[in-house]
């Protein structure tokens, strides 16, 4: 059994010489052992994030389809329902999220160009700004929700609005309004948590042009949260 | 061989639709048999023929064979397309009832079927139809999903609570055909049955005039016993004392029944009458108010018979 060349496989001993240059992991503290290079690790993470975003789109997609079908069944009720949403507040929130997306892009740029800490300040500032706008979004959402709560414009069996423009089945509109904006709101809150984590690690100086995967991935996530709102806003606030 | 296989798999065909469905069924069955013999035969043949006889037995190196692979891609595709068009065709032909079909309203609720005739009369548990006439069924459910299935006619249609669905048949053989519910609907699902009574035109007209001939001439007690099954009472009420969805009928006559609201009633003629016609007023302690009302769906004679029957269950 010594015909090594008959074998279909060749094993290269990873600990041999001549591989030193390719092994950046000897140097970088965040390199995981099962990846050969930092690039491979980064690419894998990126694929993972894109796949996760695909599942998010399908998750919201189910709600969008449900919304579309129920809207065609109860068109009048949906139109009447949307008059109770303040499009100005919705537009303000759209602005908040759009600006926060821009600051997130800046943060990713700063992280990926951060050499020896020269962009650390820009990175932290932009992350803080993103967090701030996200907070602003949630504050506006809070005022909108409490207004609906006050009027009894609530989902399902909690719907108790009896104003002059009340239409049968209006509760279905508010069921979807709260489910969709609620699920989106949870995603904003989750994003705020993730950004806070990025800020803490940025202050520790963990991110540099060699390693900024978390900033990049959470940036992608944040753009998706923004994108979903871009669809939610006209769908809920601007239907006629 | 063909007839033997047909009888092995399919109940005897009793409607026009059944014939065309069965032809396709048999075609697919033969396809199945041929392909199974091919798969099993080759597998077993190769296992024997090419059994390993020595450790260094030479094997062929065949990576692929375009013609062969095309064959078993295209041939099954053609066969599948034939089956698709055949099935599509018979489905579309069978889709819409012919003009002038007799219309019957079918109502499903947990766990009985009732049938409304053109003259306004209602029958529970039995669908009387004349032979050799197209019959269109317009169906809806009063609670959850049910499905109307007549194996002998090869028809099936879900019955929905929010809209009407329909199916139709043209019975060709006089006889009784069972209608099992085939969409799961809870506790009584397995016993939610009715019967299609296919009869001659004269017998059908006689039924419209005089009511169910099976019930005629029976003493009330006997009639009550048949109604107990036919009207669906047996789904929830036992006659041997075991607790079902509703109270057992055994030995309840002259007993005191305690209601969920605390009242108490003597089980007598009026109590039973109200329980059948307005069941929501008479919910016995320990049970849920799930019984449907039989108001307008049961004749006076049938009520009397049921009362007599309950009286007899000592």
């Amino acid at each position: 059994m010594s015909q090594a060349h008959d074998a279909s496989l060749i094993m290269q001993d990873g600990h041999g010489d001549g591989h030193g240059e390719g092994h950046a992991h000897e140097h970088h503290p965040f390199h995981q052992h099962h990846f050969t290079t930092m690039e491979q690790q980064f690419d894998a993470s990126k694929i993972g994030m894109w796949l996760f975003l695909a599942t998010e789109i399908l998750l919201f997609g189910g709600l969008f389809v449900g919304y579309g079908i129920m809207q065609s069944r109860h068109l009048e009720a949906f139109v009447a329902g949307h008059h109770h949403l303040d499009w100005k507040l919705g537009a303000l929130n759209t602005c908040f999220l759009l600006i926060s997306s821009f600051t997130m892009v800046m943060a990713v740029w700063a992280a990926s160009n951060n050499r020896n800490g020269n962009k650390r300040g820009v990175l932290i500032t932009n992350l803080l700004l993103t967090l701030g706008f996200a907070g602003g979004f949630m504050v506006v959402k809070y005022f909108e929700y409490s207004h609906k709560l006050h009027d009894g414009l609530l989902p399902g069996k909690f719907f108790s609005y009896t104003g002059p423009d009340a239409v049968p089945n209006m509760f279905v509109f508010f069921s979807f309004y709260f489910m969709m904006t609620g699920l989106h709101g949870f995603h904003v809150l989750g994003g705020m948590g993730a950004i806070t984590y990025l800020i803490i690690r940025s202050i520790k100086g963990d991110y540099s042009s060699e390693y900024f995967t978390p900033v990049d991935l959470i940036g992608l996530y944040w753009h998706l949260v923004d994108l979903i709102w871009i669809y939610l806003f006209p769908l809920l606030y601007l239907i006629t | 061989m063909n007839t033997w296989l047909r009888d092995l798999f399919l109940p005897s065909a009793a409607s026009i639709k059944a014939q065309s469905v069965d032809d396709l069924f048999m075609f697919i069955l033969w396809l199945n048999i041929i392909f199974f013999i091919l798969i099993a035969g080759l597998t077993i043949l190769f296992c024997i023929q090419y059994k390993r006889r020595s450790a260094n037995q030479k094997t062929a190196h065949i990576e692929h064979h375009t013609v062969l692979e095309l064959t078993w891609t295209v041939l099954p595709l053609i066969l599948c397309l034939i089956v698709f068009f055949w099935g599509f065709n018979t489905y579309m032909q069978a889709g819409v009832a012919p003009d002038g079909a007799m219309e019957i309203q079918v109502t499903a609720k947990k766990w009985i079927w009732s049938f409304g005739y053109p003259d306004g009369s209602v029958a529970i548990g039995k669908l009387w139809v004349p032979v050799n006439k197209p019959v269109r069924l317009i169906m809806h459910s009063e609670d959850v999903l049910h499905a109307f299935f007549v194996p002998g006619f090869r028809i099936k249609q879900d019955v929905l609570p929010n809209r009407y669905t329909e199916t139709w048949f043209h019975a060709t053989q006089v006889g009784d055909y069972v209608i099992p519910c085939t969409e799961y609907c809870g506790k009584g699902h397995s016993e939610m049955k009715a019967v299609v009574k296919v009869v001659s035109q004269q017998d059908y007209e006689k039924f419209l005039e005089e009511g169910d001939p099976d019930e005629k001439g029976l003493p009330p007690e006997k009639l009550g016993a048949t109604l107990y099954v036919n009207l669906g009472c047996s789904t929830c009420h036992s006659i041997d004392g075991t607790k079902g969805q509703g109270p057992s009928w055994k030995g309840i006559w002259s007993a005191q029944h305690k209601m969920v609201d605390g009242k108490s009633f003597l089980v007598d003629e009026n109590y039973i009458r109200t329980s059948i016609l307005q069941p929501q007023q008479m919910i016995v302690e320990g049970f849920e108010g799930i019984m449907p009302s039989y108001q307008g769906q049961i004749r006076e004679r049938q009520l009397v018979a049921l009362i007599a029957y309950i009286k007899s269950l000592k």
Partner: protein
């Protein structure tokens, strides 16, 4: 003799024996298992978990069959029976079959086949396991606190109106979905980024192709199930008005949502089974696989077309004739790739050197049983015939031939194939063959009969039936005992082997893929060095079968 293997180059240098992943002195004790990020250990933990689920689901199956011995109430009331078949279905689908091959065997074998040290996201893998456990605990809780009687399909409006622990069960399905998504994401990234040098897409072992196609479906379909379960819970809790007809909802919409996931889920179940067969047949035939590319690409084709056929579960639901026709047409299209695979597997056995060891016995059983399962699907795809057969025992028999005759048989074959690799121990071959024969016979006794009952008009989900069906029902129940006995013997045989000495050679079957080129059981980091690929898998022209292979 364990050191004499195909490619001595694997064991470069002096390391005669490394500590394997089971007995690694650096990872000892329960806690090291519970927090492990080693794909092999996670695969083993998943294996015990899904086998436990299989046992519970199987006990419910035996109870269901026992109740059906006679018409009428035997030892279960109608309500208890409804709960029993619901739990059998829900546990088998969500806790057993879906995670069985990908999460247990896939986790263990796939990174080895790729020549990788681990999956791309080892910590996500660990999270996936514990999310699965959490979901399983919730499912069991729902049984204890009130039972579920909706059927595993949770059709509305029954599921929104019935009592019991439906909310808890649907929540558990939602949670289990996350576990499935995490596994899917992990596997896709692994296949893309962690292949050994020289391993292109068409050098991947076919098992990896199958698991890859499965992962795509897991990622794309499961979120829709998740949102469907959320909507169902919302409808139950708050009457949001989407599925409940009484408040303006549409119960059929639920069926569309549900089958949009659950039909692709059928392929989540069968593709990994096919993937295992594509490994076993060439190995035990000592021949290259016939039509590698067609088999690989047909998995992807099945995964994609599988998304477009969900409506064939609803031919009697009142959907439009046009929709029904399109769904029927696409259903026939999705049948073709499966047929191609069967013929390619058979062609692989032509001019081969076949040894009928236990894994190969299961693989040949698979060809026959899955063949029947697939062929009987043609009846159900044909519109007018399906109207007659829908929701009868014919459907029950058909999908058991696919799910059990296909997936479970392949799973058993895979267990017997990789058991020596996973645990380093050989099981008793004779006992394993007897168990396989019993499973085969018992399975056919149980389910072949159900085709006849179904087309004669026996509806599914009935605890009682017309007297005419009694002989066939009884025969079916006897069959379930033979089947149960076969499975029990197989389990005792496999578990019993674990108490024996570590006697398995590194490559007991003469397999060509990378997992056979490391030690049995593998070392903690899988390979002593970085493996590289020179030839296509299953190419026995360049492969020297070790002398200690069977």
């Amino acid at each position: 003799m364990a050191d004499v293997i195909a490619s001595p180059a694997v064991h470069t240098g002096d390391h005669g024996h490394h500590a394997d992943y089971l007995s690694d002195p650096q990872h000892k004790g329960i806690w090291s298992w519970m927090t492990t990020v080693d794909h092999k250990r996670l695969g083993v933990m998943y294996l015990w978990a899904v086998l436990l689920a299989f046992l519970v689901g199987g006990v419910f199956a035996l109870l269901v069959r026992l109740e059906l011995m006679n018409p009428g109430e035997d030892f279960m009331t109608a309500e208890q029976y409804n709960q029993a078949f619901t739990l059998h279905g829900a546990i088998m689908v969500f806790l057993f079959i879906i995670p069985s091959i990908p999460a247990a065997l896939g986790n263990f074998v796939m990174p080895l086949m790729l020549g990788a040290k681990d999956v791309a996201f080892p910590r996500l893998n660990l999270a996936s396991f514990w999310v699965y456990v959490a979901g399983a605990v919730m499912a069991v809780t729902s049984i204890v606190v009130g039972g579920v009687d909706t059927g595993w399909t949770f059709y509305t409006p029954y599921s929104t109106s019935t009592g019991g622990a439906v909310t808890m069960m649907t929540l558990s399905v939602f949670v289990l979905g996350f576990s499935s998504i995490f596994t899917g994401i992990n596997f896709i990234a692994t296949v893309h980024k962690l292949r050994a040098p020289g391993m292109g897409w068409f050098q991947l072992p076919l098992f990896v192709w199958g698991i890859y196609a499965t992962a795509i479906i897991q990622v794309l379909a499961t979120p829709v199930l998740g949102i469907t379960m959320v909507l169902l819970i919302m409808e139950r809790a708050f009457n949001i008005g989407i599925f409940d007809a009484q408040i303006g909802g549409d119960p059929v919409l639920f069926q569309h949502f549900f089958w949009f996931y659950s039909h692709p889920a059928v392929y989540i179940m069968i593709l990994p089974g096919m993937a295992i067969i594509s490994e076993i047949i060439p190995t035990f035939s000592r021949r290259t696989i016939f039509g590698y590319r067609l088999i690989a690409l047909s998995s992807v084709a099945i995964a994609l077309i599988g998304f477009l056929v969900w409506g064939h579960h609803m031919f009697t639901s009142g959907q439009s004739a046009l929709a029904a026709s399109i769904f029927s047409f696409l259903t026939f299209l999705v049948a073709i790739p499966s047929g191609i695979k069967i013929f390619n597997w058979i062609a692989t056995m032509y001019k081969a050197s076949i040894s009928l060891n236990t894994p190969m016995l299961y693989a040949t059983s698979f060809l026959l049983l899955f063949g029947i399962g697939g062929l009987t699907g043609i009846f159900l795809g044909a519109l007018s015939v399906d109207i007659h057969l829908h929701d009868t025992y014919f459907v029950v028999a058909h999908f058991h031939y696919v799910m059990m005759g296909g997936t479970v048989i392949a799973f058993l074959g895979g267990l017997h194939y990789w058991w020596p690799k996973m645990f380093g121990r050989m099981y008793n071959e004779t006992v394993a063959r007897i168990a396989c024969a019993l499973v085969f016979i018992g399975f056919n006794m149980t389910f072949l009969t159900q085709f006849f009952m179904g087309s004669q008009g026996m509806p599914r989900r009935y605890y009682t039936y017309l007297d005419q069906f009694q002989p066939l029902h009884q025969f079916s129940t006897f069959g379930s005992w033979v089947l149960g006995a076969g499975l029990l013997i197989a389990a005792v045989n496999l578990m019993g082997a674990l108490r024996g000495p570590k006697n398995a050679p590194d490559n007991p079957w003469g397999g060509t893929t990378l997992e056979w080129q490391t030690q049995s059981p593998p070392i903690t980091h899988n390979f002593a060095g970085q493996p590289a690929i020179e030839h296509n898998p299953y190419d026995y022209r360049y492969f020297k079968v070790p002398s200690d292979a069977v």
